[in-house]
């Protein structure tokens, strides 16, 4: 019955899965396809429309748009995955620990999480990006730390709900240690409750990085990155609209697909 439900779930989302599959393949395989180098400039062929040698044309520095497009998701995806992993690890751990421990530990941790939620994250991100260079590691860690707070909050309430359940009380009565209960009863069930939240955070982080790149504080030229490509090509819209529209379509389709996948309506 459950298997049937999962199949139905997937069946309704065929289009979404196709889009996600496409993006995954592109992101993983881009460097292995025989594409023109993303930073090779052909000064003789600036701002060309689609042609046989340049399927989507060239940009203002003569670089091949198609190649840059296919490579353009990788920087943000790498950062989004690492940051989300960090955010989850920290967030779920803190949130569930707070709920399990209760008492002053819970109070203290909750205060810290509330403080972090009050911080204007994007400004801080701009600051960090600006002052510490645009090192992907620094950005991943910073993003991970910032987005750990909302995850911690959801993890805490999910854990509290779980702790009230009788099977957890039974585990305590039968001699389960706190750690054993945490990993055995709480965390596996918490993950199921949190899957949607984590997926949403993943997309927010992805968008945050693209926006940073757009503002010039994320990926730095000549890296191909969708947000950066939009920013760079804005002035040349009228000459080759693909320069702006193509990265927008790629970014939008990826984010929409992920959110639609976990959307319960």
């Amino acid at each position: 019955m459950k298997a049937l439900q999962s199949l139905n779930f997937l069946k309704d989302r065929v289009l979404i899965l196709v889009v996600l599959g496409f993006h995954s393949l592109v992101a993983l395989l881009a460097p292995y396809l025989q594409l023109p180098a993303t930073d090779s400039q052909d000064s003789a062929a600036l701002l060309q429309g689609p042609s046989r040698s340049h399927w989507l044309g060239t940009d203002f520095l003569g670089r091949d748009v198609f190649s840059r497009l296919l490579h353009g998701g990788r920087p943000s995806l790498v950062i989004a995955f690492s940051a989300t992993a960090i955010a989850c690890a920290i967030g779920v751990f803190i949130g569930s620990l707070a709920a399990l421990a209760g008492g002053w530990i819970d109070d203290a941790l909750s205060r810290v999480v509330d403080l972090m939620l009050a911080l204007p994250t994007l400004i801080l991100l701009l600051l960090i990006a600006s002052f510490f260079g645009q090192d992907p590691l620094v950005l991943s860690v910073a993003l991970g730390l910032m987005y750990a707070a909302p995850i911690a909050r959801v993890a805490r309430s999910a854990t509290q709900t779980l702790l009230a359940r009788d099977f957890v009380r039974v585990a305590r009565l039968q001699g389960g240690s706190r750690i054993s209960i945490l990993f055995g009863e709480v965390l596996p069930n918490v993950w199921r409750l949190m899957f949607t939240e984590v997926a949403m955070q993943f997309t927010w982080i992805l968008l945050a990085f693209s926006s940073l790149s757009f503002l010039g504080l994320g990926a730095s030229p000549p890296t191909p990155e969708w947000g950066l490509m939009v920013a760079e090509s804005r002035s040349y819209m009228t000459l080759n609209p693909l320069l702006v529209l193509a990265p927008i379509v790629m970014l939008a389709s990826l984010v929409l697909a992920i959110q639609a996948l976990v959307d319960h309506e």
């Binding site: 009788d166 099977f167 585990a171 305590r172 001699g175 389960g176 706190r178 054993s180």
Partner: protein, 521 residues
């Protein structure tokens, strides 16, 4: 199915060969309602009894002209006060509801709008000038006299008061047909009994026709002259209440009537007591939250192999007491020791393994006791480290076959899950088993079966038990000694015979009286 003699022609409500199915299901699956034929006349009272899944709620809704979106009327028709409500327009319905027909839904959770005062609720249907008088009259009739109730919010009312407000709302426009869905299942027995008396009084005074749906035969028999017994979508028996209860014709009805616990009918033989104490509480006090005294200076002793029954309604402190014995909840003052002198005020995580193993508990909600992601085998063995053989024999002792080892909770019924929970508790070979309302969430027939199983286990293993229930009949038919708990204090205490035959406390007397009323016809 036996039908009583033909009724007069003034049929108030008619179900004509009604079959209801789940939308889009193939035609060989069991329908929700099958071939329902029912007539109700003016001023008549009818009770509909059945377990969950019997279709009784669907039937009630249909009488009100409501069909859930996932259901479809396959055959037949329903006529209520002369109209087919299923095809009525929105306007027709709005004028009929509350006016001609009123339905009081099951009041689990919030049946009253949380942000409206009591008076505010009446304003939907009673307009303008006459409001206050009419409303006050309605409220007084249901036992909520005085102006103070007008401005209260639902969360400021007790469960019984909320149910009465719902009744007042239903009768304020003098309907000719009142439909009640589980009117007392969310209430304590004593409160529920009072509400039922009020309903009886209202019906006699105003003369409306009444259909009352409940899983509880006692509730239904109190206020209806005729009873319909439902099982799996069909009406299996229909007739005068007294006749059906005294001499049921259908097999299902027989099983149903036979399963109802009676305080004067033993399910388990009494035992000779040993003198070895395994639990002693002295002046035990437990506090919930900041200040609420859940248990107040309680004295208690349990001997080996003895079954102690604790009767208490909500707020009596019974669950806090059991939780404290297990070490799940801290003790404020007083002492609590086990048979070896170990101080049981220690929290569960600090107790040594042997102590933990010697006291185990089974909880009320079958859906909550087993980790939904685990098989029975995993749930049973994870902390007890029991072997397959041990688990199989434990399951067998609770009446479950070996195949249940690989089942998951979602594949099991409520009764099966409770049995698995009991098996799990037995795996540590406890001296004392705590049972917190373990059958309250089960259907009456399943409940009787589980109680029989518990009796067998108790006899075979000579295990001491503390059974908590709000139902004095269950307690009296099973245990050796009774303790009546009210507001954290013991108000009655003694052997079953003593307490039931010569109760000293008024509260106990009332509970016994209500139970007697329900089992007499």
């Amino acid at each position: 199915m036996t039908l009583d003699p033909v009724l007069t022609q003034s049929h108030f409500l008619v179900f004509n060969n009604v079959t209801v199915r789940i939308r889009n299901e193939p035609s060989d699956t069991r329908p929700v309602l099958e071939a329902i034929d029912l007539q109700l006349e003016h001023g008549e009272t009818l009770g509909v009894v059945g377990s969950s899944g019997s279709g009784k709620s669907t039937l009630l809704r249909l009488a009100a002209g409501e069909l859930a979106p996932g259901l479809v009327l396959d055959q037949g028709g329903v006529t209520t006060v002369g109209t087919n409500l299923l095809v009525a327009t929105q306007a027709e319905r709005t004028s009929i509801y509350g006016g001609e027909v009123a339905l009081v839904a099951q009041s689990i959770g919030e049946s009253l709008t949380p942000h409206l005062t009591v008076k505010g609720h009446f304003r939907d249907t009673v307009s303008g000038e006459v409001v206050d008088d009419q409303v006050l009259e309605s409220l007084a009739e249901v036992g909520l006299g005085g102006k103070k109730y007008l401005h209260r919010y639902p969360h400021q009312l007790s469960g019984g008061e909320r149910q009465r407000v719902l009744l007042a709302l239903a009768i304020v426009r003098s309907p000719r047909l009142l439909l009640l869905d589980e009117p007392t299942s969310a209430l304590d027995v004593s409160i529920g009994s009072e509400v039922l008396t009020t309903i009886q009084r209202l019906q006699r005074a105003r003369g409306f026709a009444l259909i009352c749906v409940s899983h509880d035969l006692g509730v239904v028999s109190q206020i209806s002259k005729r009873i319909a017994v439902m099982n799996q979508g069909r009406i299996v028996e229909l007739g005068q209440t007294s006749r059906v209860l005294r001499s049921p014709a259908h097999q299902y009805t027989k099983a149903l009537v036979g399963s109802i616990p009676r305080h004067d009918q033993r399910v388990r033989g009494s035992r000779l007591q040993s003198n070895e104490k395994i639990l002693v509480c002295r002046e035990l006090s437990i506090v919930r939250g900041e200040t609420t005294r859940a248990i107040d200076s309680l004295d208690l002793a349990v001997t080996r192999g003895e079954v102690l029954g604790i009767i208490g309604e909500s707020g009596s402190g019974k669950s806090s007491l059991l939780s404290a014995i297990c070490g799940l909840v801290p003790v404020r003052s007083g002492t609590i020791h086990d048979g070896d002198g170990y101080d049981l005020s220690t929290a569960s995580q600090a107790r040594p393994r042997e102590v933990l193993a010697s006291i185990q508990m089974v909880f009320q909600n079958p859906d909550d006791s087993l980790n939904p992601m685990r098989t029975v085998a995993e749930s049973l063995s994870r902390y007890t480290r029991a072997t397959n053989t041990e688990m199989s024999s434990a399951l067998l002792s609770v009446g479950l076959g070996e195949q249940f080892l690989s089942r998951r909770p979602r594949e099991m019924s409520g009764g099966e899950k409770q049995r698995a929970a009991i098996a799990r508790a037995l795996l540590t070979k406890p001296r004392l088993l705590l049972l917190d309302e373990v059958t309250s969430a089960l259907d009456v027939i399943v409940q009787a079966a589980v109680l029989r199983t518990l009796a067998e286990i108790q006899h075979k293993l000579n295990i001491a038990m503390i059974i908590v229930s709000h139902d004095i009949a269950i307690i009296a038919s099973f245990v050796d000694r009774i303790l009546v708990l009210r507001n954290g204090q013991v108000v009655e205490h003694g052997s079953v015979a003593d307490v039931i035959n010569s109760p000293r406390d008024d509260y106990t007397k009332k509970l016994i009286q209500i139970s007697a009323q329900r089992s007499s016809v």
